[in-house]
């Protein structure tokens, strides 16, 4: 109401909204999630900084699997399709999302990429996010789980510097473990301690994509996670 004379012209009206600003993204993510789990697919949002070894872990996963046809990947990249091409060479059916200037994937980009992408027989879909430890953590893509690749060369306090990313992680893959003997100043205990301060249930698997160390443990973790996710989906469906 006009504060000067109460003439009623015009009025200031408070409209309570109380809704998530990213509600539209979240609705698309929920739609993606229903498709994935309904089709028996465990979707994993694989995040990490540039050069953390995300693509290399997936290549190693493709090589280690007896049946790589069970795995597919969507690879987000600012400017190239290099990662998707590497994964295809490793036997993983893959599709690239080139984001241009966007520093993260969102649910709509993932949804659009799924059109004309045959996922028949796929049990695991890896969504390799754009290399970035900040922005990708904000957007739900419809994944069942978040996995963060953190290389042992990145610094022991990295989790403390990017708490949002690690707070959302269901698993951290500590990559490039084969380099450890050459890095006398890196203390893995300090990394796991930093994770415990930002991650409520810190689960870590050390891997080396070069030697294959830890890849079997990672594949076992995925199998258990898939069984749990599908069981929960059936209970709540």
């Amino acid at each position: 109401m006009c504060q000067d004379c109460g003439c009623g012209d015009p009025e200031v009206v408070p409209v309570k909204v109380q809704q998530k600003i990213l509600a539209r993204n979240d609705r698309t993510a929920a739609h993606n999630r229903e498709h994935f789990l309904g089709d028996g697919i465990l979707a994993v949002n694989l995040m990490g900084g540039p050069g953390a070894g995300k693509t290399a872990v997936l290549e190693a996963t493709g090589h280690a699997l007896q049946n790589p046809k069970k795995v597919a990947a969507i690879a987000g990249d600012l400017a190239t399709e290099n990662d998707a091409n590497r994964l295809i060479a490793a036997g993983i059916r893959s599709k690239a999302i080139t984001t241009g200037q966007a520093c993260h994937l969102d649910a709509e980009l993932v949804h659009r990429s799924l059109h004309h992408f045959d996922l028949t027989g796929v049990e695991y879909l890896f969504i390799e996010n754009v290399g970035n430890l900040v922005c990708p953590a904000v957007y739900d893509l419809g994944q069942a789980l978040n996995v963060v690749a953190l290389s042992i060369t990145e610094g022991e306090d990295k989790p403390l510097k990017y708490p949002t990313m690690f707070a959302k992680a269901d698993l951290v893959l500590l990559t490039k473990a084969d380099l450890l003997p050459h890095l006398p100043f890196v203390d893995v205990d300090k990394i796991t301690d930093a994770l415990a301060h930002v991650m409520p249930n810190p689960r870590v698997i050390s891997v080396s994509s070069r030697t294959g160390f830890g890849i079997e443990a990672w594949i076992r973790w995925l199998a258990t996670a898939r069984a749990t996710a599908l069981e929960q989906f059936e209970v709540y469906a």
């Binding site: 309570k16 909204v17 600003i21 993260h104 409520p200």
Partner: protein
């Protein structure tokens, strides 16, 4: 710089809320941003100033309320300090986030010549 895409979503939401009120003038937009949301409020303000031009928010003020992070034990409800190990020292349960990840449009204040048709909530 995901703050730009968050502001785009915010302006879309405000435009949608103002739908049917072409003469509405948005004065203030109140949002809540959690400390653990991964959103930088300074960048958000800059993005708002860039994107509001030509929209219903062109003359609006963006008011940001920061929400501090709060972790608790899901078993005994004991608060667990931000920066501590995120596990209850008593129950050994992983902490649960109860506050701090908000990215919420809370309220819009707008000036309308005729309020009779406005949906009040």
């Amino acid at each position: 710089m995901h703050e730009y895409s968050i502001i785009q979503s915010l302006v879309d939401s405000v435009t949608s809320e103002c739908g049917g009120h072409a003469a509405a003038l948005v004065l203030r937009v109140h949002i809540e941003i959690g400390d653990l949301s991964g959103v930088d409020t300074d960048l958000l303000t800059t993005a708002f100033e860039t994107f509001r031009e030509g929209t219903c928010c062109a003359d609006a003020e963006l008011l940001i309320e920061r929400v501090s992070t709060q972790w608790v034990c899901p078993s005994c409800d004991r608060p667990i300090a931000n920066g501590a190990i995120l596990q209850c020292p008593n129950c050994h349960e992983p902490a649960r986030l109860t506050r701090g990840d908000e990215i919420i449009l809370r309220q819009i204040e707008m000036e309308v010549p005729d309020v009779s048709g406005l949906r009040m909530r």
